[in-house]
Symmetry: C2
Subunit: 210 residues, 2 copies
DNA sequence: GTCTATAACGTGATAGAC
DNA sequence: GTCTATCACGTTATAGAC
């Protein structure tokens, strides 16, 4: 039924509209600060429909949370486990991919970190990616390079923190950065775009630092 | 009256106890998720005393928020505006000072970022430090080094984001890092301690990267 | 200053008409 | 499926006794 499919694309059904609205509001305000009324308003829907489709605020939140976590870490998992790319290429790919991803939805990193703090790290158990990072081809490539003397810092965790810090922190601290640098949203995005090329350069310099 | 002062030091008065408890709970859970009952319980005080001393949850929060922001950014302001230290020395001092500061109260960075998101960046207006970063001796030293060809990246904001990312992000993402690396709290702290020496090395390598 | 009791309000959720 | 009206509950804040 192509007619029905077309209709879904142009006019999402009620359930999808509410979920999309919930995603926006939860990402922006976090679980505790969002009111179910905020979500209904954002979706331009009646409040009762939220419970009709999703039973409760909590159930709706868990759904959004899992989708957000899944898409966010899946992207990294794909890059990290690709045996056909070099370590240096992986750095480029992660920087490029994540800065694009987060620029599209800048609230995601702070949302994830805040909610993990509130709910406890137990949610992370459900993500297959978490358990396999240290067994990824990325880490074995890293260790190999350490043995070959191409990298000074032996601990891949330090490397991981550095890369994520360089990529993710500017978004988490964006209000601060914008204020200090007197940047418009657009100017900020330009800086981030520049970082897509700069971060790999910086990371490679760090690898050989001593 | 040394007797009275001694008593204050060993047994803080009710007001101070409540404020200290509020600091702990607000830092851990954020404004929206903390209940005034949580604070009273943490302080082992009657709930009504909170309103007696601080009028409202919001007033108490603003007090905590301002103290936290003030102490956090003041430390950076001191280092950044010291004309007697070199750029490289400033990097060392900031890394050392902030990793110690945040290790003592690891919730602070995420607390600050989360609450700025909720309340809007307007709070930052009240902080003198925010307005003068770009006029600090740190930035003029940076620009000077760029002109002298010692630094490849001309924008001090990129440098600032990098330094803060390397220092602050691991704490914001600590549940993630601990999970991925299967680290205990103690092991995590050791990694952070290592970073006090490593970050200046990495930053210096980045400065010359191209 | 500190307590108990309670008021006033906001929020999540549901019943029941349409 | 969608709406209005309303309930049930938790939370902030205060009144008033001690």
């Amino acid at each position: 039924m192509p007619a029905k499919k077309l209709k879904q694309l142009s006019e999402p059904n009620t359930e999808a509209k509410i979920k999309a609205a919930a995603r926006i509001v939860f990402h922006k305000k976090g679980y505790a600060a969002t009111r179910t009324r905020d979500i209904a308003e954002e979706a331009k829907m009646n409040l009762a429909l939220l419970n009709y489709y999703f039973r409760s605020k909590e159930k709706l939140f868990e759904l959004v949370m899992m989708e957000t976590l899944g898409s966010f870490f899946m992207a990294m998992g794909m890059v990290f486990n690709d045996a056909s790319t070099s370590l240096e290429k992986k750095i480029e790919l992660v920087a490029e991919k994540y800065i694009d991803l987060i620029t599209a939805e800048p609230e995601i990193p702070l949302f994830i970190m805040s909610e993990i703090r509130s709910e406890g790290a137990a949610i992370l158990e459900k993500l297959p990616f978490m358990h396999m990072v240290m067994q990824s081809t990325f880490v074995s490539q890293y260790k190999h390079a350490v043995k070959a003397g191409k990298i000074t810092e032996p601990n891949p965790l330090q490397f991981l923190m550095n890369m994520l810090g360089l990529i993710v922190f500017p978004f988490i601290g964006s209000p601060l950065i914008k204020k200090v640098g007197k940047l418009s949203d657009r100017q900020f995005d330009i800086l981030m775009k520049e970082r897509k090329k700069l971060i790999p350069v910086w990371m490679k310099a760090m690898l050989k630092a001593k």
